[in-house]
Symmetry: D2
Subunit: 393 residues, 4 copies
């Protein structure tokens, strides 16, 4: 089982190391990075303790620098690489009523140009993926023309897609609601699928595990999108209510297990890094990213914990006796089939995953090792003055 | 505005006139039909009082008869026509673990054959639409292979679709949950869309207004599916919690208004009866059907009330000043745009809709007219003995 | 840890052994009991294999017999005792518009009398608890007077409560919705609490884990009701969507763990069987009951699996290092505190719980032991003819 | 009907005139107040155009001034009075892990002291109500001790309550979630009820219409709390998903109608301003307040629209023929009873409510009158420089 953990590569979001919060309050904490370099240093620390987080996603403009080659070199020195480029069209006053969907062509063009600038950055960083999450939507019935907005979205995405390189991809994230309170322009996987399917092979869906209606069976969507060859990437986090952006696996570990089981079932963990064109769908180029907010908990350990959660639930999912499961399913043995799944879920894989780490010269217990490393104290002492990074910068 | 009400044609489900209930209890009531002919007579009564319900949908096997030509003639005599044929693969013991998705090819073939039998009935009744709602799904994680079930569904649907005539359509309904409690094989519009898109032009999505997750923006889905030319039909009803199957418009009249507004916006009310191929999408062949359960209220008045609710909300939606709305939307005037919509919603159209009726020789107040007609007393006296129709027969 | 498992006593519902289903279909299965005695025999079998299910709850009128003393003796012979008496005011035509809340005094009195008959049965069976779950509610706004119904409920409950013996209790169950689709008369714990508090010490709240709005934090309610000394009993089951009545722990094992943790925290597991009057609240007389529907899975193993799930999650909850947890909480160490909880949850307690069983002469693996026992084949062969038990009988 | 509109007095929140937004972005707008005086001037403008918004609620510390007597005089000059004082324990770093529930006694005392300072302000402003909404809660299971937090909450509230004057009240707001993502210390009406009932007569529940789980029947809670004499006040707003804080009535006008119907039914609109002690409950001192965020729409018209929505839905609710309704309810006439309610809801009361205004020298159309008044342009020109008010100040 643990051999396949080698295929796990979890991308960390640079912004997880900055401050975040709710509309009510953003709490600051000692040691929070002030610069993108400090964020990368923190991300690299997570990788150093877990061995499973080799890349860092950037958010533009939050992580804008003058010299991306230099930034890439900085990351490489720290043992990680730059990953997905995330665009941002939700913090400029011009986007109050939409970006790629805006009624005003000037605003749409501005938003398109922002994405072209992101692609330009990708060309410099060597990033494969452009991730688009839109805050576009409306708060009141009548405020916007649902149909017209959808048509404009298609047009804007097409304008961006033609600049996506042959080795690059565009992934379009969907979200049930927030910040729009009545209508969101990409609210569900169906809409994202329809929009990216109109573009071409290199456009895919991004599934954020916190972006669904209450009760949604997320593993079904995972299975469906892998079947259709259109699952591009995950934004992992967890939720009790809305888009809570809690640590992945914290709210419902069994759900994470079921999701990872479908990822494996659909070929999403096979031969990662190379393209596969087999019947199993787009499995091999599926990106696993975290997208979380550590509002009240320590950020670096929060990311370590998240990586461990994905790893441990993947390990559990890998334990499922799929032959026995298929046999029970064929036999209509409901409790037998369920029992086979649960047996894997209830198995304590932590010793095995720890062994995977120690075999690779990594700490058995990354949480403890980090706590004892003195890193947090060091950066807290060092990072004094300046402005702590947050969603705004 | 009221001229366009001529385009409204609301199909009634035969089973709404039979008894229905919850898993806890089905209450019987005097006058409930015992036969399909009695159901059709009741449906025709709804049309006689409203002028907007010219067709009756049948459910096979509940409405199976030996001679469908005779049944059609019976309906015609009563002033209505036979409409959509609804298949049923959820009440046979063989379907305990699925029908079109079943692991066992024999069971799948049985389910496919049932649909071919339905198409055969359509050929006899002249029905245009075959509506497929599947109870297929699983109650426990692991019980079924999500991916495999989806593949088998595609295969089974293709086997059925090749028998759908050139003037016929297949519509595939989706449902969030129930009776399956963990995974439903067609849980959302995305899945229905993907499945019918793989089949061809004459396969479309059926949207039941009660089949969504809490909070889902249904009018968005209406707009999207009309945009894609894939909205085949509605199953109207309303809900507070789950698939409550209450009278359409009873739970949230404003939502019904917004839905009808998008239907009109998307061309779904234009030139009904003939095909349109304009940019507006599949509007003109959009079927509007009721699918409700009158568990505690009187059934015939329940259907009359439902038809009136759709008519009145359509009338309100037709009142929206779309030019002013577009101008307000362009101007970013949120409250202005919303106000234009609300102005239409808050207008009391009941007098105008009553006039539409009296102009056509129909009663001004169908609810009162029915109550005073003596029909209910007559059928209650007449329909004694036999077995009242319900979902089981 | 496992010593405290001795305090676990999970009551089984007689009706879980009969057929159940959805409004769409009830599937029958070979070997389903036809009589209350056969249900008790099945329940006793669950106890024989698990050692933790010493009592069986009855449902009146489904389990009505002429001689309850004889029934009690029958149960005793099989190694179990009769437990909670569940009333039923939802399957009689008179209760179409309510029972204890009905506008018609005659109907209310009939419903009250039914409960007095239940108390009479309790006096014969020696049952401690009368459990009241009401289907009362309305489907349409305006159908009933919310306030008046609440007042009548209070009056009816008071009429029943005065007959509850000194050693007996009344527990009032709440439910978010179903079968009522708009307004349920006891929809939440607040209402149940308010109603039972008006009665007296021996009236308590029954918490069914499937009877809440999506997203509800159930363990909070457990903690609150234990704090208030008003948590009388659990109806355990699990859900993905509505009141799915699946096997407890099947949908969200981590939630069951958190619930059991609060039960322990609130004293709900201490000195069971005797009354405690300590600060910990009503802990000691908390009843743990299953209330489930095995619609598609085998029923006896379904109950065994449920008992094991409660036992195993209790065992995990007992593992929590509460001193360390309190220290982490005091220190504001979010990840530390959460980690202590998760450490217990992720520990595989199954070997320890199996040892608890083998120490007591019970099978290590009750699921396998039952499967190998031949019991199912025996009853399937034996129970031929007659009418299989279900909710209706 | 319209005579009873004289009883309507809707309190405006000062903060609705400042900027607000989501965690993603707060948009500024020309003319936004920089000071509490400017907020009061805006609120007074709403009252000037509607005649129904005579008081302004303050939020401490956002609206802290040196001289509250002067502030009261300023308000009086503008034609309004100062109303409810809202405390704030969610924007200080000390409250990261709770305020009145915090494990650290020093923090709890600080939070208590803040409330005593609020009461001191009330003594100066003559405000009747202290409104407490707590952001207290936890994001991760295990982070806090649910039971201990509840006990500390009770203790802290008691410490505050003893300072609440004889003519003053404390109202405790509950909220389903946010900003806490796992457990909120006052998540439901039951908890608020339990906590305020432990304090005394002058402690009541505050019901924010956006603070419930999906699907919650809010009018039931209104009816229940009025029945118990414990409904102290409303925070009106509307929602599609979470605590969206949209304009009241914008998302579901029919729900607002049903709520106002229960307010009237429960005596909540009778003889406002004086205490009533009749059977009808705490009706007469029920406070109706708005609590909204105008993130993308104009703020003053947003408040005007809100006041009109409450007025118009109240007017519709007053139209219900309650005698006929009671008769239909008694007769079990589901559709008749529902029809009586809907008949009132569907009636266009806008002309009558406009007449109520013109009879009192107010504009027939307040939205248009405000737009034409030049007020917005004037303040936009005038209010240049300084810092626009928002939640932070």
């Amino acid at each position: 089982m643990t051999a396949q953990l080698d295929d796990l590569a979890i991308e960390l979001p640079s912004w997880a190391f900055g401050n975040s919060g709710t509309r009510f309050k953003v709490f600051g904490t000692p040691g929070t990075p002030r610069t993108v370099e400090e964020k990368i240093a923190d991300a690299a620390t997570v990788h150093r303790f877990t061995g499973m987080a080799p890349t860092v996603a950037l958010h533009i403009p939050w992580d804008r620098v003058d010299d991306y080659a230099a930034l890439g070199a900085f990351a490489a020195e720290h043992g990680v690489a730059l990953g997905t480029i995330n665009s941002n069209t939700f913090q400029d006053d011009d986007y109050k009523f939409g970006s790629l969907t805006h009624v005003d062509k000037t605003v749409r063009q501005k938003a398109i140009d922002h994405h072209l600038a992101c692609i330009d950055i990708m060309n410099q960083t060597g990033s494969r993926d452009l991730k688009i999450w839109l805050a576009d939507g409306t708060n009141y019935p009548g405020q916007g023309d649902i149909r017209g907005r959808q048509d404009r979205l298609a047009e804007s995405l097409a304008a961006i897609y033609q600049h996506v390189g042959d080795d690059q991809r565009m992934v379009l994230e969907y979200k049930f609601f927030e910040p729009a309170m009545y209508m969101t322009d990409v609210p569900d996987w169906g809409t994202s699928f329809v929009q990216v399917s109109a573009l071409g092979e290199r456009a895919k869906v991004c599934l954020d595990t916190g972006h669904h209606a209450p009760g949604t069976n997320i593993e079904f969507i995972v299975a469906q999108l892998l079947r259709l060859g259109k699952l591009g990437s995950f934004d992992f986090n967890s939720r009790f209510y809305a888009d809570d952006d809690l640590i992945v696996g914290a709210a419902d570990p069994f759900q994470l297990f079921r999701i990872m089981f479908e990822v494996i079932r659909g070929g999403g963990l096979e031969g990662r890094g190379e393209r596969s064109d087999g019947e199993g769908g787009a499995g091999s180029d599926l990106a696993l990213m975290l997208d979380q907010c550590h509002n009240v908990e320590a950020k670096i350990p929060g990311q370590i914990r998240s990586v461990l959660n994905v790893a441990e639930m993947t390990a559990r999912a890998l334990l499922v006796d799929t032959d026995a499961l298929a046999a029970a399913q064929e036999a209509g043995d409901v409790l037998g089939a369920n029992g086979i799944l649960m047996d894997a879920f209830y198995t304590d894989v932590r010793p095995a995953v720890a062994r995977w780490r120690t075999d690779r010269g990594l700490p058995a217990d990354p949480m403890r090792a980090f706590a004892e490393s003195g890193y947090q104290d060091a950066v807290s002492a060092e990072r004094v003055g300046g402005t702590q990074s947050s969603w705004g910068a």
